[in-house]
């Protein structure tokens, strides 16, 4: 997030795209509702009629996978009506002319044809966004999990720069991250091309710096594979995998393929708190401590570093993940000895410029948002004040492309997947709480009543949903949350492993799979 969570409540205009905020991020949903009570205008871009869409003044119910057209359409209106922030564009950006040329054809009427959103609504939202004193854009995976995911984000960034709605309080680009420490995992170099703090491994100076810090002569130079590629290459270019706290069998697209790939490895180690679907395939399973059993830090979606504190001893013989990693490193001849999580953090601060000023001692006084380069730096509430990271903000003109797999006669429905309020990711934790799974015990498939009538199904009837990759059975939930021709469910139930169906087609830049659109057929089961 370029802004902080608390700033959302003060925004005059909120453009929320591909985020089911009140279910996926309920406590951020609170901020959105607070902004509405203070008089903010909310526009929601989502093919589903989510709870937050119902709260919105404008629900732009676009056809799945047409985000770029819509975002370009908004830019088109803003340019055509001379609402853009000329001063900001002039002083802080480059490549505006190319962008202007690209969006020229995305007139509201043209965009209505692609997206199904009325031209008049597009105009009103464009005006609202451009004229607002402060305008925050919120997005999550509904925007990014497309083959054009990165381009979708470019289209968002273009819009903010066009209106100068970035680099100030309550105005900016705010991806709401889905997992407690996905921000931190990225910051810490759990990425194939980067050391901690996004220092490229390809740069010799960086490798030299880390080699010195870690006391070795050299480090591998070639950027590695992403998670999807690691699994695709399992049994081929990848011979062994060490998985810590992930369950790709349920979370990755085309689950049958994932299982097959993992089975073809020479060696698979899985470290987790439960014997997940993935752990069952492992050669060695290592029992890890839960968050309640260890010290550490998480970095949240607004770059805020906060303490995790040990409350109880690890259950059974489980150990904190950091201890296990150190045991493996040491057993392989590279001694890794730390007395505490705090000592690891001190090392992090030494090699990670954006975390350099953070310490456990300071965190006892309160959390800190990076960048926090020095011990007396107060942390950073919002980014890009006066200047972007790269200097001038660059417009990346992008064109609409359709999803990789569109409905056809055999597979006439679009399947989209997401999350439920009562569950989390693959359900490893939330299916075992004694409360959440009691209240929300089974998954269902949202289907429009028009389609339900055609298929002759009632609420609760079992449906067989199939794609070119697999089949699952799931109960029907008839609702107007989805439009005719679209079905939706979550990936959080082992009983409904919907990722057997999803399309592993990926965005060529970010390698993100297209979970939000694949073609399926729906039949009555039995």
């Amino acid at each position: 997030m370029t802004n902080s969570i608390g700033e959302i409540a003060d925004a005059d205009f909120i453009l929320s795209t591909g985020t089911n905020t009140t279910e996926g991020h309920p406590v951020i949903g609170i901020q959105v509702k607070k902004a509405l009570r203070k008089g903010a205008t909310l526009a929601v871009i989502d093919p589903r009629k989510t709870e937050v869409a119902e709260l919105a003044k404008y629900h732009l119910r676009l056809k799945s996978g047409t985000d770029i057209a819509l975002l370009n359409g908004l830019a088109n209106v803003i340019i055509a009506e001379e609402l853009w922030n000329k001063e900001f564009v002039q002083e802080r950006t480059e490549e505006f002319e190319a962008f202007k040329a690209t969006v020229a054809k995305y007139t509201p009427e043209y965009v209505e044809g692609i997206t199904g959103v009325p031209a008049e609504t597009i105009k009103e939202v464009a005006r609202g966004y451009a004229k607002a004193k402060s305008a925050a854009i919120l997005y999550t995976m509904g925007l990014t999990q497309h083959i054009c995911g990165t381009h979708n984000v470019f289209a968002v960034a273009n819009l903010t720069m066009l209106c100068g709605q970035i680099g100030k309080a309550s105005s900016g680009v705010n991806p709401l991250r889905g997992q407690n420490n996905v921000q931190g995992a990225c910051d810490m170099g759990a990425l194939p091309a980067f050391f901690p703090a996004y220092q490229p491994v390809a740069a010799e100076a960086n490798r030299a710096k880390f080699a010195a810090a870690w006391g070795v002569d050299e480090l591998p130079a070639k950027p590695g594979l992403t998670v999807g590629e690691i699994i695709d290459q399992a049994g081929k270019a990848i011979k062994a995998i060490y998985i810590m706290g992930e369950n790709p069998v349920l979370s990755d697209p085309d689950a049958n393929h994932v299982v097959h790939a993992l089975e073809s490895l020479d060696f698979l180690v899985v470290q987790d708190i439960f014997l997940t679907e993935t752990a069952q395939l492992a050669d060695v399973v290592l029992p890890a401590a839960s968050y309640a059993e260890k010290d550490g830090t998480f970095s949240n979606t607004e770059r805020r570093v906060q303490r995790v504190r040990k409350a109880i001893e690890p259950v059974g013989q489980a150990k904190p993940d950091y201890e296990i990693i150190c045991m493996i490193g040491t057993a392989m001849g590279y001694p890794m000895n730390y007395d505490s999580a705090s000592e690891i953090f001190e090392e992090i601060a030494r090699v990670t410029p954006s975390y350099a000023g953070i310490s456990y001692e300071r965190l006892e006084q309160g959390s800190l948002q990076w960048p926090c380069p020095t011990a007396d730096h107060p942390g950073t509430r919002f980014l890009h004040v006066g200047k972007f990271g790269r200097g001038l903000g660059k417009f990346h003109p992008v064109e609409h492309i359709p999803p990789a797999e569109m409905p056809d006669e055999e597979y006439p429905f679009i399947l989209s997947t997401g999350r439920r309020r009562y569950h989390y990711h693959t359900g490893t934790m939330t299916q075992r709480t004694g409360a959440l799974e009691v209240f929300y015990p089974t998954e269902f498939l949202e289907i429009n009543c028009v389609d339900a009538e055609k298929l002759g199904v009632c609420d609760g009837d079992m449906l067989k949903v199939s794609s070119r990759r697999g089949t699952v059975e799931v109960a029907a939930k008839i609702t107007d949350k989805v439009v005719p021709g679209m079905v939706f469910t979550s990936f959080q139930y082992p009983d409904v492993p919907i990722n057997k169906l999803t399309n592993p087609a990926r965005c060529p830049i970010s390698k993100i799979p297209e979970y939000k659109v694949c073609a399926v057929k729906v039949e009555k089961a039995g």
């Binding site: 420490n181 810490m188 901690p196 492992a282 290592l286 995790v308 493996i328 953090f345 309020r421």
Partner: protein, 355 residues
């Protein structure tokens, strides 16, 4: 310059910004005034009147939470009249309150009890009718015992002003007034109630009317050790307190988080049961003849080191992939990055940011 006023509270001169209430002014110099319905984060109904103070010249005893401090004001927070009023207030509340401290889960963390003890008020001043509402426990998260409700309305305002769901409000009049979802239904009737079980109402209840169901019978409040930590679910990063008794996590309660204040969602507040779930992995496992069997740490680590070493030796480090975790800590992700690049010799390390 902010305009200020100076007043005298219990003989102490206090200078506060204009607009400050008498309650806030008193608290700023460490003077205790009891409150039920007042909450600094919520609007001020001035309803419960337990915070009354004596201001010579005033028509009656004003509620300090809604009385603005003015220049030259003289305030007594514990005069005979004030204490008499507070005692009567407590006696009236206790007249329709179950005598249940014996087993009440809020014993030790209940304002009604705290103030009754402080002012030496026993329960039997006004015998009369008591409500006999059925206890609402038809959902797995929250138990509502309206017999214990003192109608302070903090839950109502929390739901309206913080959570923004407007699930509950006051219904009926007089002795029959009750806090309830629309149509006098239950929380679990979500089509009507719109309740999302965030439990934020529970976090502000000053008495035993609202409770976390899973914490009932798990220990008295004074037996719980509270450990402030960060939620393990979504990326918002809410803070909360793990409540620990005898080495076990027995509940989650609100703290004052930098991100979330006291607000949490249903997963954060009620989704901790997995920690002690019997399915938890408790020993290392090694696959032998296609089956995972229990092993010692020494065996497991030695096997991992040997096999990883062999793959690195035979095919090169770049043939090893590491999938790190967005659910693990920064420290652990950092070490995974270090282990991969230094020890295993691979840059193929990633996590589920894209999923």
């Amino acid at each position: 310059m902010v305009a200020t006023v100076t007043l005298t509270i219990d003989g102490i001169q206090v200078t506060v910004p204009k607009g400050t209430t008498v309650l806030e002014a008193a608290e700023s110099v460490g003077i205790f005034i009891p409150t039920f319905c007042h909450d600094p984060e919520l609007s001020k109904p001035g309803a419960c009147r337990i915070c009354v103070v004596e201001i010579p010249g005033a028509r009656n005893l004003p509620a300090s939470c809604v009385t603005e401090a003015t220049e030259g004001m003289v305030v007594y927070t514990a005069s005979d009249a004030v204490i008499e009023a507070r005692k009567t207030n407590l006696e009236l509340l206790l007249a329709n309150h179950p005598d249940d401290c014996l087993t009440c889960h809020k014993n030790g963390e209940c304002r009604l009890q705290e103030y009754a003890y402080y002012y030496g008020v026993r329960a039997d001043a006004f015998p009369g009718e008591k409500h006999q509402y059925p206890i609402e426990d038809d959902n797995p998260f929250i138990v509502r015992d309206m017999n214990k409700c003192i109608l302070c309305g903090k839950c109502v305002r929390m739901c309206q002003e913080i959570q923004g769901n407007n699930v509950i409000d006051f219904a009926y009049r007089g002795f029959n007034a009750i806090v309830t979802p629309a149509m006098n239904t239950t929380y679990s009737d979500t089509d009507i109630s719109n309740c999302v079980f965030c439990g934020n109402c529970v976090s502000v209840c000053p008495v035993g009317a609202l409770s976390e169901k899973a914490m009932l019978g798990m220990g008295r409040r004074w037996e719980m050790k509270k450990v402030t930590t960060t939620c393990p679910y979504c990326g918002v990063g809410c803070s909360f307190d793990l409540n620990v008794k005898d080495g076990k996590v027995v509940g989650v309660t609100s703290t004052d988080g930098d991100v979330n204040g006291r607000a949490l969602c249903v997963k954060g507040r009620f989704g901790y049961g997995f920690i002690h779930h019997p399915d938890r992995l408790k020993t290392p496992l090694i696959k032998k003849d296609g089956k995972l069997v229990e092993a010692t740490w020494d065996e497991a680590i030695a096997l991992v080191a040997e096999k990883m070493g062999a793959v690195k030796e035979q095919y090169g480090g770049e043939t090893i992939g590491l999938i790190s975790s967005a659910r693990c800590t920064n420290e652990e992700n950092y070490l995974m990055n270090k282990l991969g690049r230094v020890v295993l010799g691979t840059n193929s390390i990633d996590h589920c940011a894209r999923l």
